[in-house]
Symmetry: C4
Subunit: 225 residues, 4 copies
């Protein structure tokens, strides 16, 4: 079932590892099949570099497993909430990539300070609110997805396709798998540059006309130069 | 003798090198055979990448060499003290990995600031007290192991399987070799993230309910996602 | 047309990637053919590692495409302004390399603090002024090239062959392609070292007699040791 | 002439590159033949990764070339002064490795803050005084060697086999080539750790009894574990 999508998700796992975004088994990527609405996701307990297409799991939007002999990633229900809240999303990636996680641990959003950021994310990358004890005790992964969705009630999630879950790490999405992987790579890069830019100049800020220009150029191309 | 365990220790040496935790000849890993209680450890004076399974040394818990033509790692007696103090430990790794060593040199513990830390270590990673001149002059390596054990008299060493030896570097352990290697990789990663998290927000702290949740998830799986 | 130059530009793209100066599709390099004055430039929307010599575009100094089936890099008109303003330039490279971009985002020039800098750049690396809304709205890429040229009205652009475009990233040039690539590699290296040097000693400065000596040694050799 | 030594110097060049200590063509390594007292050194203008054993140059202690068709490294006369001043030295390496150069640019010595430092260098790594205009104008490379030698008039250069030339970079030496390469690798590593240790704890310092212990262990072994 969905063999083509499985191969794409499989390759995206390799891509995340190759770009230095995953260490040990921290992270997972999923994709939504446009026709059926089913989700293909990475299994738990298998190292990123050892996953094969057949190890991938197919489930429906309620998390019911339709195919696959492994347990799905423990973050599955966070992915599902993101797909439910943002219908345009075709793929979700979660990593513990270093710099994005540093901002998540600090509870600080990643400010837009340059055209690299603006080419991928119109606004600052937001950070979720502190989770409440009862949200952690029960349906933890589902509630993580809900507070992600809540953070985007006032703006289009596709203009800034990433968020930092406080004390945890980034969740990133895209129209499709390639888009989600690109956004995850770009997020880590702009997080590191934002950290050092503010160390060099605490008053650094971004030219708002440049943001508009680069967001508009993005619509025409695909963040390419 | 213990040929299977030797191959595992041999591979773990490669694994530490591959994960960027060892430079030149700094570091060593050992494992305890459950049945005999014997220890397999890396020899001294052989580069990490050049060790072969047959170069490994087998000794008893008093450090008496039972097999092997090389001198054992000079830190052997530190390893032995850790095995004696913590019966659940099946493997010990010592590295001079950069960020963990930075905290050791600063005499600062590594604070738990996120789920990456909580997935592997329940508490902050402690740092040992300053060694006294007489502890350094005689039985230096053995005394290093003793002050490591002392630091865990009040808590379970398996919930936080790592420590920083002040002005020296980290010692890490695990139920088995794979576990010790994973913990060494995770330690280095959370050390670096903790450093930068505190630079970004000096008041950063961790949600204690998240710690409980992730420690509990860990029991079910194996720090996997 | 210009097959030899295409192969050189193709190889330079690989070289920039190999030296860690490009991530995803951020960056582009071009060269000017001495005889015809034509420009060979990287196409848009093709990953750095996937470009083949035949994908490269040949255009004239007004940007008219003479050969090539792809769209040229969106920064083409910035390159053209640099070639127009600086007749000695044979190649232009644009990257979002991390440390040079950090200085660009901070709006800070990169100070000359050592012989590594002086071997390649006589002066501090300048940063362009803030672009005005009307310069961004219309002919954005051309105007970017113009404010680069403006920044060098008082000095020889070949003694300090690089500039930081504020909130964007570095543009680097050279007598030929190999020179431009070397300068891009050196720029990133000295940017990182300058950042940390000033963290270690806020009063750090450079011996002006050493600058003269190394600039003069450079004329004889080719920044080599 | 000295074919065996040429192959060793050739391999050491690869080793420096493999350990990330050289970028572009910045750096050079030489060795002294014990019997003849002749020096084998890297040629100028050839990339580190492209040098072949036959490209190496043999010269005497006055810099007279005895064999080789290339120009020797421009730093040759600095190497010669080090050999003249320190008779125990069998090999000299010069790099622009990042962290050692950062300390050199800041004009700050690298403090001994841990056993990794003590295993290779007993004291802090010193930094040379500012060079005077006349020392730069004439015999610049020779004078660089002289101020290096001056910095060790009060102590044994073999206990701390490295120095930082202010605003330039590190020079490192050893009993033989392998020793010089090891010391260059260790220097870069302890420089980086010292930088971050002081950021984490400005009062960090080293237990002097640990220094004695590790310096003494070093005599027995070869900085091995």
């Amino acid at each position: 079932m969905l063999e083509g999508l499985k191969i794409e998700v499989y390759k995206a796992n390799q891509e995340l590892a190759k770009n230095g975004l995953v260490t040990l088994r921290w992270g997972n990527i999923s994709a939504r099949d446009e026709r059926t609405g089913y989700i293909v996701i990475k299994p738990r307990r298998i190292a990123f570099t050892q996953i094969k297409p057949d190890d991938l799991i197919v489930c429906d939007m309620e998390g019911k497993i339709l195919e696959g002999s492994h347990t799905p990633s423990s973050d599955l229900f966070t992915h599902l909430e993101i797909y439910k809240a943002f219908p345009q999303v075709g793929s979700v990636a979660h990593t513990h990539s270093k710099w994005a996680t540093v901002f998540a641990q600090a509870g600080e959003s990643i400010p837009n300070l340059g055209t690299t950021h603006a080419d991928y994310f119109k606004y600052d990358i937001p950070v979720t609110r502190t989770m409440r004890p009862e949200e952690i005790a029960k349906d933890y992964e589902k509630n993580t997805g809900r507070i992600i969705a809540d953070a985007f009630t006032l703006k289009d999630p596709m203009t800034t396709p990433a968020i930092l879950v406080k004390n945890h790490g980034p969740f990133v999405w895209g129209r499709d798998i390639a888009d989600a992987v690109d956004n995850a790579v770009a997020l880590e890069y702009v997080a590191e540059m934002a950290f050092y830019t503010l160390r060099l100049n605490t008053d650094a800020d971004m030219n708002k006309y440049l943001i508009e220009k680069h967001v508009q150029r993005k619509q025409g191309g695909k963040n390419e130069q």
